[in-house]
Amino acid sequence: MARWYRVEGFLLALATASSIMILFLLAPIAALIIAVDPKTLEEVFITEPSLSREAWLALATTLKASATSTAILVALGVPLAYLLARVSFKGREVVEALIDVPLMIPHAVAGIMVLMAYGRRGVLGPLTAGLGVAVDDSFWGVVAAMTFVSAPIMVDTVKAGFRGVNPTLEYVARSLGASWWRAFTTVTLPLTIESLVTGGLLSWARAISEVGAILIVAYYPKTINVLIVEWFNTYGLRYAASLSLVLVALSLAVFTGIRVVARK
């Protein structure tokens, strides 16, 4: 009996800590929902053309840029994650630390770095301009800023996934006649799919949430975050809150949806 009491006490402690945590997260969300005036919301997205046009455009830019950023990370970040997980080479730790730099620096600094590298007057400015992806106040600037800040999340998450797959399985597949690509797609990838989806989702979410770096690299075309900051300064909290609610609803819908699908 004494043992059961102990277990129950432990569960109670867990439940208490969890409740505080959930309340802490829930309070700002609830506060935002309560604070939003339905009339203002309607004005922002439907009835007031000057506002709604800007709001929908910013939302579209955000979704398009964040999707492009995630696609770039899938194309370039996943191979990098696989390489770091499977191949040991001199200086791997330095490469891994470099990838994590955007996680630690202030967002504005990230923006300055991207601008100094890929901006018109940046080290690689002529190259990005030549390729038609100039970053100063352009869609590609938004994508570059988003990709820079969200890359560590994608690479680190997927790398952990690849490390969790026993390399012996790939060896066996190869010895049974599978090419490297076939072994990767039929054995490694299915066993890493959860990490890939998680990495993709988290990096996409991180890209959507970015504002500091974008403000510096590409104020235009405005993303929803830039517009929230602008409206907060121009029209006050009421209008900014209405815009913010869309982002919260979007993230809640996506994350809940993915979990429901994953469970099925």
Partner: protein
């Protein structure tokens, strides 16, 4: 026939040297040696996962030293069996056939055939996670044998089994050789496996292949002594002193 000539593999500070080794078709060669002498490195080099810095590997006269693993025709069974956890037993066994372009129907009948030979027909719809070690071992054997490899590379395939199961697994492999013809290189540090299963025993020490013997001759070498003396307490209790004299040890 597999011929290994003057093979040198360097891995950090470790060097593997195989001056010469021949494995004829249908032979069961056991590679014996203490842990850390490079037995697995040797298997991985044969399989094509490691590139030797010197030497050649010939399969029926063709130099496959620079071939990628999938073109060598060597099927490996790792120590943990390496079954694909996201596939059913059937799909595990069919894997090698499917990647070779064998049709689904043909693959299915060949999987059934090999499963019958190994007595694992009833496991085909199961996932590897729900199998016992002995069952996993048979599935891994079936998966490797179904592609009819030039040689089966087995890395301590019985080490995950408890002693009782190990004895029955040895008997199973011996019996299987009567039903299915295959060539195997079996790595172990268990003398019972080497003597019981091997047509010949290759002994490695300090990264070097020191010799290839018949099981009986191997028991007479100084290399076998430490392994036999580890059995002494058992033999003593059983009063097997006479048997030891017969072996001349």
């Amino acid at each position: 026939m597999i011929v290994v000539e003057d093979l040198v593999v360097r891995l950090g500070g470790f060097t593997l040297r195989i001056p010469r080794l021949e494995v004829v078709k249908g032979e069961y060669l056991v590679v014996m040696g203490p842990s850390g002498v490079g037995k697995t490195v040797f298997l991985h080099t044969l399989a094509g996962f490691l590139t030797p810095s010197k030497g050649r590997i010939l399969v029926n006269g063709v130099d496959v030293t620079r071939y990628p693993p999938e073109r060598r025709g060597f099927a490996i069974i790792p120590q943990d069996y390496g079954l694909f956890p996201h596939m059913s037993v059937h799909d595990n066994i069919a894997y090698g056939l499917r990647v070779r372009g064998v049709s689904k129907g043909e693959a299915r009948s060949r999987v059934l055939e090999v499963s019958r030979a190994l007595g694992i027909e009833h496991l085909l719809s199961r996932r590897p996670g729900s199998l016992s070690s002995g069952e996993k071992q048979r599935v891994a054997l079936a998966r490797a044998l179904v592609v009819e490899p030039e040689v089966l590379l087995m890395d301590e395939p019985l080490s995950n089994l408890d002693p009782r199961l190990r004895a029955s697994a040895r008997a199973f492999i011996k019996g299987l050789r009567f039903r299915v013809s295959f060539t195997a290189i079996h790595v172990t540090h268990d003398i019972a496996e080497a003597i019981d299963l091997g047509d010949r025993v290759a002994y490695m020490e300090g990264g070097l292949l020191v010799g290839v013997y018949s099981p009986k001759d191997f028991l007479k070498t100084p290399y076998a002594r430490p392994y036999i003396s580890s059995l002494e307490p058992v033999l003593k209790v059983l009063g097997a002193g006479k048997r030891r004299n017969v072996l001349g040890l």
